[in-house]
Amino acid sequence: MIKGLLKKDLFNLASYKTSLIIIIVFCGIAIIGTDAINLAPTVICAIVGMISLSTFSYDEISKSNKYILTLPTNRKEIVKEKYILAIGATIFGGLLGILLTILVVNVMNYIRPENMINLDYKILITTALGGIFCISLLQAIQIPSVFKWGAEKGRIQMFISLFIIIAVIGGIYFLVTKFNININIEMLSDFINKFGLIILIALMVVMYFVSYKIAYKIYRNKEE
């Protein structure tokens, strides 16, 4: 049944294919024309990840959730499908960005051997993962908000939540600098180098899991 729900959302999202091609072309040009060779994964992942959430708006316009609840599926599967789509879109966006960067850099290096672009694969993948993490955080906040308040209000709620998160991080940074709290940067950097990737992935898993639980609890009690 989740396959049917996914098909419905993917058919709805098909209208974005022209926009996606334009974004890919834009990112390709940006890689060639600027030094921002690591830009593509983050930009494409951000756009594809956020586009996937527009399926909520499609559902709202057609009031389709009420109808979907009459089909042989249930609320759990409906919530699950939204997460599968969001996570899939984010990973797809990140991978597409990585592949685009590798392709463009190699083609350009072949065409212009005198003007070699040095591509650091480690930095590229780290940047892509950073981008995927940020989008995951946004999605983890936004999906329950949209289930609770609807697509339009949910977006506003997400910006408020995001503002609170930035304010808290900013506040911590302000306190650390104001009270001259010594942080061993070398040790921190070493720690991040060793465990950063695992922590990032673990954090994403936890974020999505908690977000899914909240979203399901909201949707289970929601009247359509």
């Binding site: 559902d59 609840l69 009459t70």
Partner: protein
């Protein structure tokens, strides 16, 4: 006779509306019309049956608990909702591709032949369909997995009489094909029900007013048209409601033969379901 749907004391409370202890059955092989004005509680009843909204009371479909056996029941149920469908941004062809993932018994050939029969384009976005075309697509989608039960919420509202008639024909054929099939049809256009329904359930302000076989309703109910003098002779127990007109009284009775015999009043009209509903709602008690 087995029942496809059994409702017992179904209640639902909202801030400004309450559905109060609704009980009725939809027997196999029958079309049951659920009538009432807008906001009477028809859609809430249907949403409760389909477990879209949580309500109190007992709901059994095909003899099974509607909540515990939700998926199994929905496999054998086709639903048409007036204001909701998969998405306006899909084509009929894409609907086919989606629906076969939902129903094990989805019949692609039947769906395509229904689209042809209804003259529906397969590659046009649903949002560009007329209201009649949209409704026909919803019906084609609802019956293409050969469901045992059809639940239809206002399937004819906003449609012109020609399309309405076509749609009613589809329902008639659907029920004639298999005697174990049933339809629950909610509508405020009561004329649609006079020729096709077997039972009428009337809901008003969240309360069930009656649940009667259509024939019995149309045969036994009557509208007495009488003078003030005749009206004052009537015992309150012998009529349901009345309306004072410019020149005469219109009095609704559930037993017109009794009125004829007891009061010797001969001007008793055969009412339509709409007349009955209107006098119940607007008449004085």
């Amino acid at each position: 006779m087995e029942n496809s749907i059994e409702l017992q004391n179904v209640s639902k409370k909202y801030k400004d509306f309450e559905l109060k202890t609704i009980s009725f059955n939809v027997p196999q092989g029958c079309i049951v019309g659920l009538i009432g004005e807008n906001g009477a509680g028809k859609t809430t009843t249907i949403k409760s049956i389909l477990n879209i909204t949580k309500s109190e009371g007992t709901i059994k479909i095909f003899g099974k608990d509607s909540v515990k056996n939700e998926k199994e029941i929905k496999e054998e149920t086709g639903v048409v909702l007036d204001d909701s469908f998969l998405s306006e941004y899909l084509t009929a062809k894409q609907v086919n591709s989606i629906m076969k993932e939902f129903y094990k018994t989805w019949n692609e050939e039947k769906y395509i032949s229904l689209l042809k029969q209804f003259n529906l384009p397969t590659d046009k976005l649903i949002k560009d369909f007329s209201s009649g075309m949209k409704m026909k697509l919803k019906i084609a989608t609802a019956i293409s997995h050969n469901p045992k039960l059809l639940i239809l919420d206002e399937p004819t509202s906003g449609l012109d009489p020609v399309v309405r008639n076509e749609i009613l024909d589809i329902f008639r054929k659907y029920i004639e094909e298999d005697e174990t099939r049933s339809i629950l049809l909610s509508t405020h256009i009561t004329t649609d029900l006079e020729h096709i329904s077997d039972y009428i359930v009337f809901i008003e302000k969240g309360k069930m007013i009656f649940n009667l076989p259509t024939d019995e309703l149309l045969e036994n109910y009557g509208i007495i048209k009488c003078s003030k003098e005749d009206f004052t002779r009537l015992n309150k127990k012998d009529y349901i409601a009345y309306k004072k007109g410019k020149y005469q009284y219109e009095v609704l009775t559930s037993n017109k033969n009794n009125i004829r015999n007891r009061y010797n009043i001969t001007t008793i009209d055969k009412p339509s379901i709409e007349d009955i509903m209107l006098l119940y709602i607007k008449g004085e008690k």
